[in-house]
Amino acid sequence: MTGAALQALLSHWWRNPLQLFTLLAGLALATALWSGVQAVNAEARASYDAAAATLGEAQYDRLVRRDGQPMAQGTYVQLRRAGWLVSPVVQGRLEEVRIVGIEPLTAPGGLAPVAPDEGAGIAAFLSGEGQFFANAETAAQLAGLNVIITPQAAPGTAVTDIGVAQRMLGKPGQIDSLIVLPDQPKGRADLTEIAPELSVQAAQEGSDIARLTDSLHLNLSAFGLLSFAVGIFIVHGAIGLAFEQRRPVVRTMRALGMPLRRLIFLMGIELMIFALIAGVIGVALGYVIAALLLPDVAATLHGLYGTNVSGTLQLRPVWWLSGLAIALGGTLIAASGALYQMTNMPLLAAAHPRALAMAAGRRAVILGVAAFVLLTIAAMMMVIANSLVGGFIMLAALLIGAALGLPLVLDRILLVASKTARSVTAQWFWADTRQQLPGLSLALMALLLAMSANVGVSTMVSSFRLTFTGFLDQRLASELYVRTENEAQAAALEAFAEPRTEIILPIQSAKALIAGQPSEVFGSRDHTTYRDNWVLLQQAPQAWDTTFAGQTVLINEQLSRRAGLGVGDEVVLQETPFAIAGVFGDYGNPIGQVVLGAEVFATLYPAVTPQRFGLRMDPAAVPDFVAALEDATGIPASQAVNQAEIKAISLAVFDRTFTVTSALNVLTLAVAGFAILMSLLTLASMRVPQLAPAWAMGMTRRQIGRLELLRAVMLALLTAVVALPLGLALAWALLAVVNVAAFGWKLPMYLFPLDYARMGLLALLAAALAALWPARRLARTPPADLLKVFSNER
């Protein structure tokens, strides 16, 4: 019995390969977009974990100097003698590679990929020549060195013996941090007695990097989920249509003695088999998408957060299993309604003549109510949401609510149009379009989601870019920026530049944990550069005067929002409290920032000496100055960057940051275009009986084909009209709620009408292209097929 039933069920797909293709392609695309994004996220997270493990950040407490500067090797020796079980770490950059030096004899087990079974012995590791551990990608950048390749190594990081690292990094006798091993002996001397300049930094539950980049990954996941939702619309449409078309067959099978439960079970199995096939295809496609996106995401993360993410994708079991699971889950969601309808279908009800139109009225009411509820939730969340989760709930309610309400809105518009139509052809066209709406509504919902996401995200990105450009103009006011290698170079630069520039602005900073937030403290010299260019979002009277006088500080918006600090509140720096006199915008910076006067900074952080400088001068004099500086001090031109160059670099980083977003935007729109194509193709076969009477009454096939094309473009246009305000609402939500929660800054929203017009045209073009083939097929339907409609013996 099962074999015969399965043959009958599967033969439907064999005879309707286009429908099968729609189902598999929709599900595969949905899975691909979702799993592609997840693969990128998984790879990035694995990279953070590897990086955290290398430095032991996640597992062990560490000792660091309070002022963030390296400590002397002697401090380490003193601590060991006093009974402290600590292990030294030194780190720094050698071009693009982070060099981490550890001492394997004292380092805790499980730290770093220094395992003898990797082909290296401790002796070789400790030898003067040095032996490095790195992944293949990093090893390629360390040509000429003895590198053991190990996939466990953090990307962009090479681990070596501390002595080798100190020598390579020019940090002889210096240690950046000391790892505190667990199980310290009791009765050891107090830290304040041996090294009062050190403080204990507690092990972090999650690495800093992971925490900082969570918001970016959440954004990517949300985009992946949106693409998946668009794909599921396609699958839902394909399954719904297939079930509707097979309704008479199911009745026949039941009438011939097939038990309903067995039938439903077999249909469920059939779908799960398809889901698995589509899932495998989707995961493979997802891998390709991830491989294409990963370099851009890695660049984004490096640009935004300075983190290293491996550019090579690994096939992780968790990832592809979850890809298959989401394909199965998505199919189940898409099919549940159709399967439920099937279980309740009476055996003897007459076969319905028109697929998909059945129960459209009742369904429209249910969808309308659901849309109203969701849009109400979205409106409420707009007022109360202040977290990332709240922001995404608002976005989901807004998008899904609008999508569900779309058929109702379109139906009303078409009703009005059909009432105002004068010619008989126009009346037929509007009435026929209205009748097609239930069959096309899922594809149009997908288009609405894709278009509004495009409008919303592009508005957000473009607003961000405009703000960021303005921000760069404010913040990068100096005409030249010079980096020095050491204190001697810094002194030479100051001496040379003093008589030749308007002012030298040292850029000096120290790391600090302020109100629980990782932050940087900057000491700035009093000058109009700051007063004239920096925009303060909140400020007390004479904020700059009191700050440069060392009485107050300024903090950035991120620190203000995350720590709940504002003007008048206090922050503590090196045990000294300072009142906050102002909050400044600081777009693109992931961590907190505090600005205080250069003099008080020098008092609080005496070990910090400025290594970078901003020089104010006549822009035209910059090239000559750089040349003269090299001649006079030996500071190479490569260490000097002019303002225009640094702005160009910053904008390039910004643009690359959003390459992934743009790519996902295009992919989502393409999926929506595909949804329209598939809906029209599958509906085309059912259109013949509807169009045959119009043909019989005198319309030409060409005319009918043209009207079919016009219908698709017109529906896409109406959808675009609805998508615009929805997209703007989405942009507002992203800028005012999600960005604030994710990055800590609020951006002004700008409108870009030309961009929207271009996007609308693109959507119309996509709809027209999607409709072209089905319309052409209909226009070329042989008269014999049209005549069959009127035959009694069909």
Partner: protein
């Protein structure tokens, strides 16, 4: 006795209130016997056929097929009855459009676990369908499709064949040919035949006929 129907009642709920379709029907049928059910539209012929075929359940009364009470069967039991013991020929043919003719003929017998390829071949030959075995239903004429439906019904060798206006969609000449074939084959298998028809001519070719009027035997 092949079939015994006793005091069958069936009422449907309509927009105008309950409508009694069958009001105390009794009939008996022996193996090899053919019976025509006639009557005007709405007289309850098809409803009675559906109840006997286990496609629906009566509100009251008993239907015994080979001494088994159909009304007492659950959904699975009625499905099993439809698979093997009873065969139904519908006016609309109800073939599976995605299966070839040969697979359509074998379908019900395979469901019943009584597939006999040799018997399928005989049925196809007798029905004149051998050249069409690899075609799909949409490639056949109405008469050919109904012959496929009849062959499918007879393939599991049912004890009772129910036919609901089997020639209603066919022209007169085709209808006569199809009916001849059906009667011949039913007689050969020794099954009982209960046929709903509007046609007095067709009814005249049955062993006997029963006329229904307003849900009762006239």
């Amino acid at each position: 006795m092949l079939l015994t129907v006793q005091d069958i009642h069936k009422t449907y709920q309509t927009a105008d209130g309950p409508f009694a379709v069958l009001r105390g029907i009794d009939l008996k049928l022996q193996a090899g016997e053919t019976l025509a059910l006639t009557g005007e539209s709405g007289s309850g012929k098809s409803t009675l056929l559906h109840l006997i075929g286990g496609l629906d359940t009566p509100d009251q009364g008993q239907i015994a097929l080979l001494d088994q009470d159909i009304a007492a069967l659950d959904d699975n039991g009625r499905a099993a009855l439809r698979r093997g013991t009873v065969g139904v020929v519908f006016q609309q043919f109800n073939l599976i459009p995605s299966l070839r003719v040969a697979d359509n003929i074998a379908f019900q017998a395979r469901l019943a676990g009584q597939h006999d390829p040799a018997w399928d071949a005989i049925l196809a030959d007798r029905m004149g369908l051998t050249p069409q075995l690899n075609k799909y239903p949409e490639q056949l004429s109405g008469g050919q499709q109904q012959r496929v439906a009849i062959a499918r019904t007879l393939a599991p060798r049912p004890r009772l064949v129910l036919a609901d206006e089997p020639t209603g969609n066919l022209d007169e000449a085709t209808a006569a040919t199809v009916l001849d074939l059906m009667l011949e084959l039913v007689a050969e298998t020794g099954a009982g035949l209960l046929m709903v028809t509007h046609s007095g001519n067709l009814a005249g070719r049955m062993s006997r006929s029963l006329h229904l009027r307003a849900g009762q035997v006239a």
